[in-house]
């Protein structure tokens, strides 16, 4: 038992201080206002202070910190993308994640378990080969493996998927990990708070003041804040913010649902994803199976649950693991995802001076939390986006230079 827990046992009063101060009313002005107190916004505040010495920063969260998609996702971290730009970006995120518990002095349970993307068709194998080749080129450990290797890592998996969709192989991605999602938000919040950033919960942005194409302030339910730099980090709500500044983007909102079973003794060590069966699953450190599926098929700004989702998901789970028939689903929930046409984020500067976007995080936002915070902080500090996120710029749509992640979505004949 680590000694650091002894202080709790030996002390009469709980010795841990607040993670972050309970600010109520914002000051008259800040150098930077960050809209959204999720992992991304808080990470940006943290790196603004830590990397750039910018500490006169307000983070405005309309609910509670980490209450949006940070606290609703299935916590998978990976970098096995299709394009070199994508792989480089997410790999940089993985690298930060690996040392983040130490850096933030908070155990994020960053657990590297290995990630299998199962292929049930020849065309899926093709896409995986493509991803593996690009990953390899960039120096990320991904390779196409056969059924034997999958069986070794997960002997409980029915490789024939109940005879319905036999597994032909998989893309194995060694760095694939899971982490405690809440902890990521809390750790960045504490880090940012200690370095001087101010976090305001229950603080909603009502409008953004733009004059002559420049940001000059933000109106909130707690008063007006003068600022020349605003970062929108509100995946799931981005269109509501961009509408305030008259900015058009391709983003539409679709719910993404997930569910969790009762705890059972751990048996599933790997993270498994099946594109054909629309399932991703891992087992948490509490022993629950955490399961997700594909995006809801239509736009809705709501975190309601549907029965269709959980029926479809469980049916496919049983194809993979027939013995789970009587294991019980405890809870289902949903988040709202910013979807872009090329399955890549929208990051960086916008045509409005001082208005920065960290958006379009679709279903892949959690894994990018550290690197998005770092690169957005860099973008704000220098008023110029680093090369690492150049291909995610908003203007790529006008330029007809969508990112190649869309390529993976094409279907073979």
């Amino acid at each position: 038992m680590p000694l650091r827990l002894l202080k709790y046992a030996l002390s009469k009063e709980h010795p841990a201080p607040r993670f972050f101060k309970a600010h109520e009313t914002p000051k008259k002005s800040y150098d930077v206002v960050i809209i959204g107190g999720g992992g991304h916004g808080l990470a940006a505040a943290y790196y603004l202070a830590k990397d750039h010495g910018i500490t006169n920063v307000a983070v405005l969260e309309k609910g509670y910190i980490g209450g949006g998609n940070t606290g609703r996702n299935t916590t998978i971290v990976r970098s096995n993308y299709l394009t070199p730009e994508g792989v480089n970006f997410y790999d940089a995120s993985v690298k930060i994640y690996e040392g983040l518990s130490e850096e933030l002095d908070l155990n994020l349970f960053y657990s590297t378990r290995g990630h299998f993307t199962l292929a049930h068709t020849e065309s899926a194998i093709r896409t995986m080969r493509w991803r593996a080749e690009v990953n390899k080129h960039v120096g990320v450990e991904s390779r196409v493996v056969g059924p034997d290797e999958i069986a070794k890592a997960c002997p409980q998996l029915d490789l024939s998927c109940s005879g319905q969709a036999p597994i032909l192989g998989a893309l194995f991605h060694a760095p694939g990990s899971v982490a405690r999602h809440d902890g990521v938000a809390w750790g960045y919040a504490r880090g940012a708070d200690r370095l001087g950033a101010e976090i305001f919960q229950n603080t909603e942005v009502l409008s953004i003041d733009v004059k002559n194409g420049k940001v000059c302030g933000v109106k909130t339910n707690k008063g007006y804040i003068e600022t020349k730099q605003v970062l929108s980090a509100v995946a799931g709500f981005t269109p509501r913010i961009t509408e305030m500044v008259g900015l058009e983007t391709p983003i539409v909102i679709h719910p993404l649902q997930a569910c969790v079973t009762e705890p059972m003794k751990p048996w599933l060590d790997s993270i498994l994803v099946s594109g054909s069966l629309h399932v991703y699953v891992s087992q948490s450190s509490r022993g629950e199976l955490v399961m997700g599926s594909s995006l809801d098929p239509y736009e809705v700004h709501s975190t309601r649950s549907t029965l269709d989702f959980v029926e479809g998901l469980t049916s496919h789970m049983l194809d993979m693991f027939p013995f789970l028939s009587n294991v019980k689903v405890v809870r289902q929930w949903a988040g709202m995802a910013d979807m872009t046409p090329d399955f890549a984020p929208i990051m960086g500067k916008t045509p409005i001076e001082g208005f920065y976007l960290d958006a379009g995080w679709g279903t892949w936002g959690f894994k990018a939390t550290p690197i998005s915070g770092k690169t957005m902080a860099q973008t704000i500090a220098n008023d110029s986006a680093p090369d690492l996120i150049h291909s995610f710029r908003l203007s790529r749509f006008e330029d007809y230079e969508l990112t190649g992640e869309k390529g993976a979505a094409s279907v073979g004949h």
Partner: protein, 94 residues
């Protein structure tokens, strides 16, 4: 929303329908600028509110328009695009 009213087939469960995105009118391609066209192709009106949307009743192959609030997920009405003259706003858009 779990039920949707197809103007031809009546009220059916949502699983029989496919979402076709917001009903949008393209700018005149001969007179619009490249930037206007690119914006039309890529950008979307993503904020919540009342939208006119394409929906497809799959078993019968029927495309129709549903007026739906994307925040509450309530459908106020559905009709065939060819009957859109019921709706002055749509008519002028055409």
């Amino acid at each position: 929303m779990k039920l949707l009213n197809c103007p031809i087939n009546g009220t059916r469960p949502l699983s029989e329908f496919i979402f076709g995105g917001e009903y949008r009118v393209a700018p005149d391609q001969d007179s619009c600028s490249d930037a206007q066209w690119a914006a039309y192709v890529h950008n979307r009106n993503g904020s919540p509110g009342d939208k006119k949307e394409w929906w497809y009743h799959s078993p019968s192959g029927t495309w129709f328009i549903a007026e739906r609030n994307t925040l509450t997920d309530k459908v106020s009405r559905t009709y065939l695009l060819s009957n859109a003259n019921l709706n002055p706003a749509l008519e002028s858009a055409q």
